[in-house]
């Protein structure tokens, strides 16, 4: 509940920071969830920033399970495939990795609130994810 309240608070602040709309396709704030198809879903916020020729960002910035993205790939020549890799530290102090393998949906590529979907692997658990850009 506290997590959702914090997430809602974060959403209220979004208009202050979400200026980018239609430039680099991955730039922006993305909201969504991941997990087993019919199981419990994990809500996530992904913040990605494009500068010159480099993408940086975080998953769930400011939360205990924050993941810092340290490797990003967008293959615009082959179906707009996306791969994001990052590392975080759990509450016990153990380092874990998160890997997102997916693709931008070409049907809504022109929208500001375009979508990415694919598979999400984190700390040994895999699932599917969908992110929508805010």
């Amino acid at each position: 509940m506290k997590y959702i309240t914090t997430l809602l608070g974060f959403l209220v602040l979004l208009p202050l920071s979400a200026n980018a709309q239609q430039g680099y396709p991955l730039d922006g704030i993305w909201l969504g969830d991941w997990g087993p198809v019919n199981g419990e879903r994990n809500q996530v916020v992904v913040e990605l920033v494009w500068r010159d020729t480099a993408l940086s960002g975080n998953i769930n910035p400011g939360f205990p399970d924050q993941v810092t993205i340290n490797k990003a790939m967008l293959d615009s020549a082959n179906g707009w495939k996306v791969r994001l890799e990052g590392t975080g530290t759990d509450e016990a102090g153990n380092t874990f990795t998160a890997v997102l393998d997916g693709a931008l949906n070409e049907d809504d590529l022109g929208y500001a609130n375009r979508t990415i979907s694919g598979t999400w692997t984190q700390a040994g658990t895999s699932g599917v994810f969908t992110l929508r850009r805010e």
Partner: protein
Amino acid sequence: MRLNSRLTGISLALASLILLLQSCGPAAETAEQPQELTQQERIQGGGVDINGLQPVSAGSSPRPEVIGNTPPPRGPDGHPILGSVPGMIGKWEGFGSRPMLRLFDEIPEGAIIFYNDFEQASNDPTNYPKIRESEIPYQPWAKALFAARSRTRFEPYVRCKPSAAARTVATAYGTDFVEFPDMQKIYIFPTGGPRHYSEIWMDGRGHPENLTPTYHGHSIGHWEGDTLVVDTVGFNEKMWFDSDGSPHTDQLHIIERYTRLSVERLQYDISIDDPGAYTRPWSTGFYMDWSPGETFQFVCQDENLASDLMLGTEYQSMDRSQPIFP
């Protein structure tokens, strides 16, 4: 694919028809006829654009046969007046060959954007020597996004979003410039679009730090001889700066140069520097022609035909609940 084929067919048919009409009628006479058209006729122009996307006057008005060398009017300080003056009311129209900022020596696969024949546009001495598509230094993602935009043509402008730079100047129904010397500002008033305008500060100020990105950005200008040089930063990513679909990021920095070569002709040069989308700056431009006569009050939100022209019935299943479309 079916839509592309259909649009291509319509485009070819309309292109043939319009070229036929243009070759049969004296264009200069058309330009000089009194502005007695009804509003609907003005919107429709001679029919839809050969691209099927915009009214004809959105940059493809018949070019006056006589470009002329009448010296431009000048203000008290000696520099040319870019817009209307008493006794000479009008607006700038056209941008030469299509697309707006480039010559298509290579065409994105599946593109529905209309383009003039490359050889013809290249060899036309009245056409600005625009950059070739193959010369534009895209980053890979930007090249792919330009191709995607060429296939869908979801231009914000045709959904009544403000546009910037070249798209502001080369709008439907013409553009006028108004200078306020006491205020040290110049305004650019496009007729087409959501009844917006650009403002250029001429008082020697610089760009503010920490700009909030906006549709028009922050523009400062100065005169270099007879050329107005406008430097703009602080653009948001919601607009397109041309009608072609050139991608950009909020790092975009544009320098425009306006030179009124004569009463009848304006040279527009633009340099695009965006390290987030291109590997180096690039430059291009177009010529515009003076179209005598007053403009009229156009409000895109009320009178926009583009969505119907563009979408027809093919995209009825499209989700129109999107908060920002596109």
